[in-house]
Amino acid sequence: MNLSPIAQWALRIFTWLGLAFLYLPLVVVVILSFNSATSLSWPPRGFTLDWWSKAWEADGPREAFITSIKVAAVATAIALVLGTLAAFALQRYRFFGKTSISFLLILPIALPGIVTAVALQNSFSRRIDLGIFDFQVGFGFHSVVIAHATFCVVIAYNNVVARLRRMSPNLLEASADLGAGGVQTFRLVTFPLIRSALLAGGILAFALSFDEIVVTTFTSGPGVETLPQWILNNLTRPNNVPLVTVVATVVMLLSIPLAWLAQRLSDDARASYL
């Protein structure tokens, strides 16, 4: 398409304005973490490192950070196993009900968080009596992990299935022709090929779990406070708002290399953000 130079410039300026829109609020947060005033008022009063040292000494954010890491790690591990199995099933086999399974995978993330939250809160709080099984899930660390794993499955699935689609079936045939059994083919051919897709999916699932607040609010039990929960609880305490800006800045800095890595390892833009 022969766009005139003016149209090209207009698009370029628009794109940079769009990026400015995306980054302006983040810059504001970083600047406010050095602001000597306690409110979110603008312009900043003066420069201080107090909030950084206070945030470093405070136990709350560190404990919440560790809780979030633990939740995200376990949920990601479960999601990777389930998502990979689903990817193999849907990619390698044709069977009745295939489309409903892909719909089933996407549903926990397509339905609004509050629906998932109410549904899980409701079922975890009930005593489920099925005759042989009589149990109550209850609320605690485990309930948050179950909830997070459920909506992370689709992310692992998307990354692995994108890789399997690109993988030539000839490779499997070649491996079989050379005398390898199914297990050996998986270990020496399939797994090395999907390894980086697993890592990318793992990073993205981890990030989604790490940032989740709605489902977490309604499924966590007493004594469990993830980082987003800590942030939400402290944003309503005026004296702690600056600490939140520090924590937010740290999390943003830590996420840059992870985001870059996930992007590099993914096959295509589609699989790399969901």
């Binding site: 398409m1 766009l3 090209q8 698009l11 370029r12 794109t15 769009g18 829109f21 995306l22 947060v29 979110l40 008022s41 603008w42 312009p43 389930l82 998502g83 199995l85 689903a86 193999f88 849907l90 086999y93 069977f95 399974i101 892909s102 089933l104 397509a110 339905l111 609004p112 968080g113 509050i114 629906v115 109410v118 549904a119 899980l120 409701n122 079922s123 009930r126 179950i146 459920t150 499955v153 699935y157 059994g181 199914g182 297990v183 050996q184 083919t185 998986f186 940032d211 709605v214 987003p228 939400l232 944003l235 999390v251 943003m252 996420s255 985001a259 992007q263 589609r270 953000y273 969901l274």
Partner: protein, 308 residues
């Protein structure tokens, strides 16, 4: 799963032991492979998620015990009646759909030129950089970004000295304040990358030579856009809109942070759940479930799922 377990028990790569025998069994009976892979994920999603949703629908028909504030197992249509015929609640639903549509349109208007520039005008070496730049804000924390916009929109106090307001008030002297406009902008901000990326991916698959061919055949840019670009990106837009629409529809935290008095269906559900009135909250959730299912079905008509 089973293949990994079998692998651990096999003594070495050269052995033709149980691993090999297992492999042969799987080749001979493909359904074994299907069953061993599909069972665990489907069972998890059915038990944890579909089970919970089914229980939720059932709960909507239970009567609340006023004294203990717990659902009883007594059947009632009262909750559904309240949720679906009370005019204030219907207006909340209409408002939520309106906000979600406004967010989707705003995201589309911003995303379309950006995605087009990144995939078709920017230098090839710069594309990956732009894509990373669009993705990165997704990692910055949903709540923090919400509060960042609170700091942007804050109108400040009428009585305080100048400089007490938010970023917009004190730099350009104007702010929409907290309300619907602020809410739509903040939600569009939160979900914009989800719209840019599918459109970018869709355009990326469209060869530039097609655009050149259209130009060579005398198509002006607008004609090319309508006849060549649009058909390829409609599924991508539909896919992106699933995120922007669905995530906005149920959001209840951003309305609390920047929405002023604006309440969406999510606020209604969260408030009812904390009341606590589980059955009525369950009845309210049927609204977003119905709306999203209708939305997903209509988007799948536009082939959205192929671009998801």
């Amino acid at each position: 799963m089973s293949s990994v377990a079998a692998d651990a028990s096999s003594p070495g790569p050269a052995s033709a032991g149980p691993g090999r025998r297992l492999g042969r069994t799987f080749t001979r009976h493909p359904w074994l492979g299907l069953v061993s892979t599909v069972t665990a994920p489907v069972a998890w999603l059915l038990v944890v998620y579909i089970g919970a949703l089914a229980l939720l629908v059932v709960t909507a028909f239970f009567k609340l015990d006023e004294a203990s504030q717990k659902p009883t197992s007594e059947f009632t249509l009262g909750n559904l009646d309240t949720a679906f015929t009370t005019s204030t609640f219907i207006w909340t639903v209409v408002r939520s759909v309106g906000v979600a549509l406004a967010v989707t349109v705003l995201c589309l208007v911003i995303a379309l030129p950006m995605a087009f520039y990144i995939s078709k005008v920017a230098k090839p070496w710069a594309r990956r950089g732009f894509v990373v730049a669009v993705i990165l804000p997704l990692w910055a924390g949903y709540l923090v970004k919400g509060y960042a916009w609170r700091a942007m929109f804050s109108p400040g106090s009428k009585f305080a000295a100048s400089g007490s307001g938010g970023v917009l008030q004190s730099t350009i002297g104007w702010t929409p304040g907290f309300g619907k406009a602020a809410l739509v902008i903040t939600l569009a901000y939160q979900w914009l990358p989800y719209m840019v990326l599918p459109i970018y991916a869709g355009l990326d698959r469209l060869p530039s030579s097609l655009l050149d061919a259209s130009a060579d055949l005398g198509g002006r840019p607008l004609r090319t856009f309508r006849s060549v670009v649009t058909p390829t990106i409609v599924p991508a837009i539909a896919a992106g809109s699933i995120f922007t629409f669905s995530l906005s529809l149920g959001d209840y935290i951003m309305p609390n942070i920047v929405g002023g008095t604006t309440q969406l269906i999510g606020n209604l559900i969260a408030r009812t759940l904390l009341a606590p009135n589980q059955p009525l909250a369950a009845a309210f959730t049927l609204w977003p479930i119905l709306i999203i299912v209708v939305y997903l079905v209509s988007m799948s008509k536009l082939h959205a799922f192929e671009d998801l």
